[in-house]
């Protein structure tokens, strides 16, 4: 392990602290404008910070959750994430009341979908959670019932439509991920994870097709990634498992963390994997594929301890994994690290 692979950079201050929610950090790199956007959820709001690459300019925006017939909503937001499509980037917010979609800088809401909320409160919570952009034109969002909504997104404008509802999971969706290698050869386009640890592997299209179901072991899978046909799943027990998406074959099992894993990310060009948990540790791993033997290897590269912090979000800031950013519960800063 390289103990000096990364070093800490100057943190970015936020207007409010991060809430303890899975995958609570989203990063959008905008190369043509030399800046990076970060979003972090705080209760019923989203903190959006835009940081120029020279470190000189920061601007802040706060987005609120939305609710029908109410001026200001206290509905809690479960997740905020950018969906990168070929022609546009859409910022998606999922809350207890519905799904909000914005143009990438958060200035205009282009779409709102209200969840069916029962008249009287039920024991089962209602919320949307799990966001992924799939192939050229879809945005998928998970629901607490286990359903998943597939939205069809046009090249521009607000004519976003609900294309399909996928009913495969029986437990609340925790996270969604689309194939991030950029390769068109991969059969599987998306993986969905739920609170019982079940994983579903999908092929996108006018009708999404279920390719495989990988059973869980009664432990929530809180974060999932799909890279070169390999599913990387992080669990509440602190374990990370690697599966071959289409067959469900287990490639590797890692006793990675001492507490619940809250975030995973992959740098698609280098195969670096980032994992972060309630145990205050962020770990960097490296994945190597050997197509000839159909094997996947994972090695540990680096540890970073964020003292006295339960980490809730960790993402690479670029496709090579040269830099990553971290958020923690009750912390009002986005901590950044870059390779030495």
């Amino acid at each position: 392990m390289a103990s000096n692979m990364y070093h800490k950079e100057k943190s970015i201050q936020m207007k409010s602290s991060a809430s303890a929610l899975y995958n609570n950090l989203s990063v959008l790199r905008i190369a043509p404008r030399s800046l990076t956007y970060f979003t972090v959820v705080h209760a019923n709001m989203v903190n959006m910070v835009s940081a120029s690459w020279d470190g000189l300019n920061y601007s802040h925006r706060q987005l609120q959750s939305k609710e029908a017939n109410v001026a200001t909503s206290s509905s809690l937001i479960m997740q905020a994430a950018w969906c990168v499509l070929p022609s546009r980037d859409i910022l998606v917010l999922t809350s207890q009341k519905g799904i909000q979609m914005y143009e990438s800088d958060g200035s205009i809401m282009v779409y709102w979908h209200a969840l069916d909320t029962p008249e009287t409160q039920t024991a089962q919570a209602v919320f949307a959670r799990g966001i992924a952009a799939v192939r050229e034109k879809y945005i998928c969002v998970g629901i607490s019932s286990g359903s998943m909504l597939v939205f069809d997104v046009p090249i521009k404008g607000s004519n976003i439509t609900l294309s399909e509802v996928l009913e495969e999971h029986k437990e609340s969706i925790t996270d969604l991920a689309s194939e991030c290698s950029g390769s068109l050869e991969c059969i599987a386009d998306m993986v969905s994870a739920d609170d019982s640890g079940n994983l579903c592997v999908w092929k996108s299209g006018e009708d999404f097709q279920l390719l495989n179901k990988i059973p869980g072991f009664d432990m929530s899978c809180s974060s999932v990634k799909l890279w070169k046909g390999t599913v990387v799943a992080g669990y509440g027990t602190g374990q990370i498992r690697l599966y071959e998406a289409v067959t469900g074959i287990v490639h590797a099992e890692v006793n990675a963390h001492a507490r619940w894993i809250y975030s995973l990310d992959i740098a698609p060009f280098s195969g670096l994997l980032l994992s972060a948990a309630e145990d205050s540790l962020v770990r960097v791993w490296h994945l190597t594929m050997t197509p000839e033997t159909n094997s996947v290897e994972i090695v540990h590269m680096y540890n970073e301890c964020v003292t006295d912090t339960q980490i809730c979000g960790a993402k690479f800031c670029d496709g090579d994994g040269y830099a990553f950013a971290v958020t923690g519960y009750d912390l009002s800063e986005i901590i950044r690290y870059t390779q030495v």
Binding site: S74, Q121, E253
Partner: protein, 382 residues
């Protein structure tokens, strides 16, 4: 988020309140019979059947304001009185203690074990009073019935809901600072040592497999911590060893209960944003409060002689000083309902609720806004 959070929040905060009051009653040498009466009265009110029925219904968490109001009422359920400063301090201690317990729980499910620790202690407080004891036992059964079937993910949702409720609270508690579980900036120490939770493996092992499931390679990595084994699972039944120590009584007569107000105000701006509840929700909250309070039978103080005041500070002067110097951003908004006017207040509340619901058909949200304001103003004046 989770609609099953309120019972756990209430029971654990209530438990902490009882620990602190018990310590203060003994520290102030309150006669044993009076002290016992106070504890019994509060516990009886806490576990009132009608009250619990309301509590266990699926619902969103109350705002901080509403919950503080409930505990004000609960603390005054007997012959004991607390001044504003003492009540503020009591509430600070209760909330920081439970925040600590929720954060440090090894597994989300262990919040239930923390709750059982509080319940076990409460049971011990009333072990000589069979009528209250049976109410406590009934509550155990309800907890077991509601929570033991929940999955790990559902417990984590409860935990996340609680953590949003406690977000940005960094009040420093002397006993935590002394025990080095809290830093001087108000944040809790999260150790990367000790046993790992039940069901988790000590980090360090990578196993890789071939296509037919055979292990082909093992790698070890440095985990950066100092983990020493795996915790046993505690008992989720009415009796049994809980294993987790969080939620047991950390106070004793010789360990004082102090909080520090200074040095935590830098988070005041953030605290404000979490506390703000939009007015249109006031109606729902008042509905819930009215139902809850209706179930809370509060005793009128008997004759003037039996009543007494408890001070959470070392001296009366300190208490007065604390009230004056408490920073604005830490003031708890409370809906003032005086305990002495119990019957009258309930009737008023009911009438107000009746008036309000008749006009609930109005579609315009701005009129609902002003209704909420009027209602709150009326209640403040009760």
């Amino acid at each position: 988020m989770s609609s099953r959070t309120l019972p756990l929040l209430f029971i654990n905060l209530g438990g902490e309140m009882l620990y602190i009051l018990d310590q203060r009653l003994r520290a102030q040498n309150i006669p044993a019979d009076k002290a016992k009466k106070v504890m019994n009265d509060i516990i009886t009110t806490m576990f009132n059947k009608k009250f619990l029925e309301e509590l266990f219904k699926p619902q969103e968490l109350y705002s901080k304001k509403a919950l503080r109001t409930v505990f004000d009422r609960l603390a005054h359920a007997s012959i004991m009185r607390l001044n504003q400063a003492s009540m503020d301090k009591l509430y600070d201690l209760m909330t920081m203690a439970f925040k600590y317990q929720v954060l440090l729980c090894p597994r989300a499910k262990d919040i239930l074990l923390v709750s059982f620790n509080h319940m076990d202690a409460i049971k011990d407080f009333v072990k000589d009073t069979p009528s209250v004891l049976s109410q406590v036992d009934e509550t155990y059964r309800q907890l077991i019935e509601m929570y033991t079937p929940l999955s790990s993910g559902e417990f984590q949702l409860i935990r996340q809901t609680l953590l949003i409720f406690f977000q940005d609270m960094h009040i420093r508690v002397s006993i935590f600072l002394k025990d080095k579980v809290q830093n001087s900036n108000g944040r809790f120490v999260l150790p990367i040592s000790g046993p790992v939770p039940h069901g988790t493996h000590i980090p360090g092992l990578i196993r890789m497999f071939s296509c037919n499931g055979e292990e082909v390679k093992r790698l070890q990595f440095r985990n950066g911590g100092n983990y020493t084994g795996v915790l046993r699972e505690g008992s989720f039944e009415m009796f049994g060893e809980r294993v987790i120590k969080l939620g047991t009584n950390m106070y004793s007569v010789s360990r004082p209960v102090e909080t520090h107000m200074s040095g935590t105000s830098k988070n005041s701006a953030q605290k404000k944003s979490v506390n703000t509840t939009p007015n249109p929700l006031a109606k729902e909250e008042l509905n819930m409060l009215a139902r809850l309070m209706g179930g809370m039978e509060v005793q009128k103080p008997g004759n003037a002689d039996s009543g007494f005041r408890v001070n959470l500070f070392a001296t009366d002067e300190e208490e007065e000083e604390a009230l004056i110097s408490r920073p604005d951003e830490f003031s708890y908004d409370v809906i003032k309902i005086q305990a002495t006017k119990n019957q009258q207040a309930n009737a008023e509340l009911a009438k107000i609720m009746g008036d309000f619901t008749e006009e609930a058909g109005e579609p315009c949200s701005s009129s609902a806004n002003s209704k909420g304001d009027d209602l709150l103003a009326m209640m403040d004046g009760l």
